[in-house]
């Protein structure tokens, strides 16, 4: 079986999990307050950012700092736990399919879920920007030529974080530690984006990229530059190591 059909099979397993409902609800909770409080964006004179840019940044800031990583951590729990119930994983491991391929297929599904999340957020951004423009009589909608590449960057920056979450979910068998470790790892990113060693902590990558963009857009704020040189090699190394560890240890406890 190739990896595509495996991924397709995995996606059918989570069809009835209601995960999309949870993801959609989180996006609603994020954007509705942004529409209601849209007038804050007109009081940003001291920072020197235009209202439309501010609306974009404020909305996505709420997403990348907490709810997006947290939603992805919940998704890893879903991917691991659906099969532990009633020992479904034993049947999968008994098939003549390599366990690493199974592990990769699940990871690809996690990436697909994050793509869905990011696309839903983009849609929500355009709807709420249009709604807020209507209420404020001011055009808050940014051009897709700016928004889409920026969101693409955020998504790419979040890939190493997904590999770390996936490794945590596969490696730590005790549910409370795997959930707790995944969720607790989100919180320190607030501290770490202000340090020089931010590129060693994948959970803060999307947040860092967006904060740096905030600095670029706002005249009176210093921008912390995104230096590609220590970052890209570090991120690639962390992702590869995490994925390899996850693939090697996937199903190990069950086979023992």
């Amino acid at each position: 079986m190739n990896i595509l059909s495996l991924t397709h099979m995995e996606s059918r397993k989570i069809k009835r999990s209601k995960i999309l409902l949870i993801l959609a609800a989180s996006i609603l909770i994020l954007w509705i307050p942004n529409i209601i409080n849209a007038d804050i964006n007109f009081q940003m004179d001291d920072i020197g950012i235009s209202p439309e840019n501010s609306f974009f940044i404020q909305g996505f800031m709420g997403m990348v700092w907490f709810i997006y990583p947290a939603a992805m951590a919940v998704c890893t729990v879903l991917l691991v736990q659906t099969e532990r119930a009633n020992n479904g994983i034993l049947k999968m491991l008994a098939l003549p399919v390599s366990t690493s391929a199974l592990c990769l297929a699940k990871f690809i599904l996690l990436v697909l879920l994050s793509v869905v999340y990011v696309l839903l957020s983009t849609g929500a951004y355009y709807i709420s920007a249009a709604a807020a423009s209507n209420m404020a009589d001011y055009n808050l909608v940014l051009m897709p030529s700016y928004v889409l590449p920026m969101i693409g960057k955020l998504f790419l920056a979040s890939l190493p974080m997904l590999t770390v979450f996936w490794m945590i979910a596969v490696l730590i068998r005790t549910p409370i530690f795997s959930v707790g470790a995944g969720l607790a790892s989100i919180v320190p990113s607030v501290l770490l984006i202000n340090t020089k060693l931010w590129f060693l902590y994948p959970m803060c990558y999307p947040f860092y990229v967006l904060t740096s963009e905030y600095g670029n857009l706002a005249e009176n704020m210093s921008a912390s530059p995104v230096d590609l040189i220590p970052w890209i090699p570090a991120a690639a190394a962390i992702s590869v190591i995490c994925l390899v560890i996850a693939c090697l240890s996937f199903g190990r406890a069950e086979r023992r």
Binding site: I67, V77, T174, I176, L191
Partner: protein, 251 residues
Amino acid sequence: MSFKKMNFLLEWKKIKRTGFFAAFLAGGILAGAFPVINTAVRTEMFISSPGSPAAILMSANYQTMAMLSLLLLTAGACILYHIEYADNGIQKMQSLPIRESGLFFGKFFLLLPAFFLMFCIQCAAMIFCGLHWLDPAAASEGELFHCLELVRCFGFAFLLTLPAALLLLFLSSLCRNMWIMLGIGILGIFLGTMLPSDSFAASLFPFAMPFQTLPGMEEDLVIRYIIAAVSETAFIGIIEIICIRIRRLFA
């Protein structure tokens, strides 16, 4: 042996090998490390800020610590019922001649000390920061006024976190699937952070209340929060009992 006591002992035995207390210990240490690192790195800024050491420390660190506590409580509440649902253990419990609400409160009284332990570690870490960096003179003179202030802050915070803890356990008892409970819990916490901070009514939302801090709060507001926390806790407990009754009707 009385049934009540049996409930608690049973719950304790069930949770023993899940790493429940170890997780809260680790979470407490992690949350406690936050103010220590924060104060160590930015000592100058902390010393130059106005206000009492307790107020400075709380305003600089407590939001993040509350977030960590809430996330850990979510994981803890989740595991308490997950062990029942994972292999249909709940059906065996339901067939025993004990009340199902007893099961719930047995679990709650297990969650309570775990999360009290976490708060104690956090409070100790804050007192250490206060004595070590902000007010070294107080330690030498034996004047422990600021420590008491911090203890009071954390007592208040503990009380305000109670409704959230009970609500998370309630959600966990409702959802068979772990990720749904986790998802709803995360959504609740996120909503708590998104609600407007200047409105008293909005801050009564169980997941928004743990983010309130004592320093600088007016006395009648403090009393109102305490009343709200206690009544919300009682209310969620009653809702749980009603829910169990209804579920039994349709089981």
